[in-house]
């Protein structure tokens, strides 16, 4: 149990970027956009938040710049796919490589020449000393930066946006069936487009948290697949916000375990580091399997409009 408590702190911390990116991916996914560029958005935000923070001396300015850069990259993707009708997977892959190339280029050209940019301090941490006596609560709440709390809040926010607003309803309608949505008077193009800056915003927060959080540095390709893992979490969750949160915490914990084993034992660290990726593949398989079963069921009973699985898939407010 002590180990479990010990893991809770880094685990939740590592989960925060994934939650943000997951929420960003969720909004794309529900609008029917297969967004693997989350990875690039995160990397952009991580780099620009740290480099602007280093140049200006202000963490908050860095945060704003990082998120803005991710939003801009997302808008590029939106323009490419919505106006120029480009394939979103192809643009996604290209943008991921673009962000990797550009951040590494800027890092090695303008940076400190050390392969990373280090900040003196990261985001301020929340401490409530009177909670130190309460074991579990202190682990969960103390020593966290504001973005981590924001990450948790983004889950109900996404649930509200998707489930309780007109915008969310239209967005989901587009994701389910764009032709029907258009027939029902939904302005498909603009709403679909609007999900790009939104997902860029959340993924950008995730990238900024990754860089400005506990490590407060940027290193080459520091996201290393987190955006893709976050999107796997979305698919695993079947598009439900709470499920995305749970999957993110799971992946965060796996990373924390990896970090711990890396320090403590002679067990090859590479195998431990593989765990989140393998877990993501398992999650994808489970998600795919569940979807297949649902399809099978709805095919077997054609008239079940109130089928609970379908209803929850449509509702998704959890």
């Amino acid at each position: 149990l002590d180990t479990a408590l010990f893991l809770l702190k880094p685990g939740l911390q590592l989960a925060a970027p994934l939650i943000f990116a997951g929420v960003g991916g969720l909004l794309s996914y529900r609008a029917g956009v297969f967004n693997i560029a989350l990875e690039g958005f995160m990397l952009f935000a991580a780099f620009f938040s740290v480099s602007v923070a280093a140049a200006s001396g202000s963490i908050w300015l860095g945060l704003a710049a990082g998120v803005l850069s991710a939003v801009l990259l997302a808008v590029v993707m939106g323009v490419a796919t919505s106006i120029f009708m480009a394939d979103e997977v192809i643009v996604g892959i290209a943008l991921n490589l673009l962000s990797l190339g550009l951040t590494t280029y800027l890092l090695t050209t303008g940076g400190q020449g050390a392969g990373y940019i280090q900040l003196n301090s990261g985001l301020p941490l929340f401490e409530a000393p009177f909670l130190d006596q309460v074991p579990l609560v202190s682990q969960v709440i103390n020593g966290r930066d504001p973005l981590e709390f924001a990450a948790w809040l983004s889950i109900p926010l996404a649930a509200f946006l998707l489930g309780r607003t007109k915008y969310g309803l239209q967005l989901r309608a587009i994701g389910e069936n764009p032709v029907a949505a258009r027939a029902a008077g939904v302005r498909v193009g603009p709403i679909r487009f609007s999900t790009f800056p939104l997902s860029g915003f959340f993924a950008g927060l995730g990238g900024a948290e990754l860089a400005l959080g506990s490590v407060h540095l940027f290193s080459e390709n520091m996201t290393s697949g987190r955006g893709i893992i976050a999107f796997a979490a979305v698919i695993f969750g079947g598009g439900g916000p709470v499920a995305v949160g749970i999957a993110s915490v799971l992946f965060g914990m796996a990373q924390a375990v990896a970090g711990l084993l890396q320090l403590g034992s002679r067990f090859p660290p590479q195998f431990v580091l593989m765990v989140p990726y393998v877990l993501a593949m398992v999650a994808l398989a489970l998600g795919g399997w569940r979807r297949a079963r649902r399809l099978f069921r709805s095919a077997a009973e054609p008239a079940t409009e109130t089928d609970p699985a379908e209803a929850s898939a449509l509702g998704g407010t959890a």
Binding site: G32, F34, I90, G101, L102, Y105, I228, V234, M281
Partner: protein
């Protein structure tokens, strides 16, 4: 061509923003890629792995399978090929046996790496784009482990990369021109491009694979055993990517190294996409990207500019080239497109 020029403009803008002279850099890239006959030959040698990965991507893509994990299959092919080349007991084999053995090992290594995504796709319907990407990260770690912990050799290559023992001479193609790293692997890769083209054009298997792209349901109802065809598409693609790894190991490195700082696996995908996955055009796309990469390396030597600018340009080319309609050229067309944003029914709601 428009996409390429626009990408160069973006690259130039990035250079100006970081206070470098685009003209000097372009000159240095050209110099590094084609400046001397040695440079040209090295560029050609660089083309080989890129060509094979691009072909690997096209092979699967034309059968409706999106293999985004060429990088991982490439890494595993590089290791498996190297392993067959340095493992003790084989050094007395004649080259005529040993070289094909190395190639076979590399192809197997790449093909094996596509098996988990294949199984997950067929059994559970897991999206292969994401699973193959995941496998790439796993491959990177696996390669690190194998090179660092199991097969680490005492001496270290230029730079501070750890490496496996060197491949024995009988496991490597002779260099066509000494010092160029260029081997007949390039011609084998070109032959593979023609073979893939012929396969898709003139064979029953190729027809069935093409049918898969139109839609698995249609293919199945036409009597194609879809799972088997997906298997062919994925493992064949993995084998080609694995051969790209062999090309790098036998041509350039002479051993498997870590960290293998190359994006060949991803740039190959982009090279294939640049020419709409057409096997006969892929060699040209590969040459173009290889020249940019090789020129980027020259850049680092001749100037202080970071070689990663080449990656920026390559990725930007694809962002522009992926446009299916170019309405922005005429204001009227742009207006139409914006209006179409409202009207366009997006049929391709890509399920996850």
């Amino acid at each position: 061509m428009v996409a390429v020029s626009l990408a160069f403009l973006v690259g130039a803008a990035v250079l100006v923003a970081t206070q470098q002279s685009p003209i000097d850099v372009a000159g240095a890239i050209y110099e590094g890629a084609f400046g001397s006959s040695a440079a040209t030959l090295t560029t050609l040698a660089q083309t080989t792995p890129l060509l094979l990965v691009a072909l690997s991507f096209a092979f699967a893509f034309r059968a409706g399978v999106f293999n985004a994990g060429g990088q991982g299959q490439f890494l595993m092919g590089a290791f498996a090929g190297a392993w067959a080349g340095f493992t003790p007991g084989l050094e007395n084999l004649p080259a005529i046996v040993h070289v094909p053995l190395v190639m076979l090992a590399g192809a197997l290594g790449g093909a094996l790496w596509t098996l988990p995504p294949f199984i997950l796709k067929v059994v559970a319907g897991a999206n292969e784009i994401l699973t193959t990407l995941m496998m790439s990260y796993v491959a990177d770690l696996a390669n690190q482990y194998l090179v660092l912990d199991i097969f680490r050799s005492a001496h270290i290559q230029a730079g501070t990369n750890a490496q496996t023992p060197n491949l024995v001479a009988s496991a490597r193609f002779p260099e066509l021109v000494a010092g160029s790293h260029l081997t007949i692997m390039l011609f084998l890769a070109l032959a593979a491009a023609v073979a893939v083209w012929l396969l898709y054009r003139n064979s029953v298997l190729g027809f069935e694979l093409r049918l898969m792209r139109t839609g698995a349901l249609l293919a199945r109802s036409s009597g194609v055993q879809t799972s088997r065809r997906v298997f062919v598409a994925m493992t064949g693609s993995g084998a080609l990517a694995g051969l790209a790894g062999v090309a790098l190991v036998t041509g350039f490195l002479g051993a498997d190294i870590t960290p293998l700082n190359t994006n060949v696996g991803f740039n190959g995908i982009l090279a294939s996409l640049l020419v709409s996955n057409s096997p006969l055009l892929i060699p040209f796309a590969a040459l173009f990207f290889a020249a940019l990469e090789q020129g980027g390396i020259g850049l680092q030597i001749f100037t202080s500019t970071s070689p990663y600018i080449a990656d920026v340009v390559i990725a930007t080319v694809i962002v522009f080239a992926s446009a299916r309609t170019v309405p922005a050229l005429r204001p009227k067309r742009l207006l139409q497109a914006l209006r179409a944003m409202r009207a366009e029914p997006i049929v391709d709601g890509r399920p996850g």
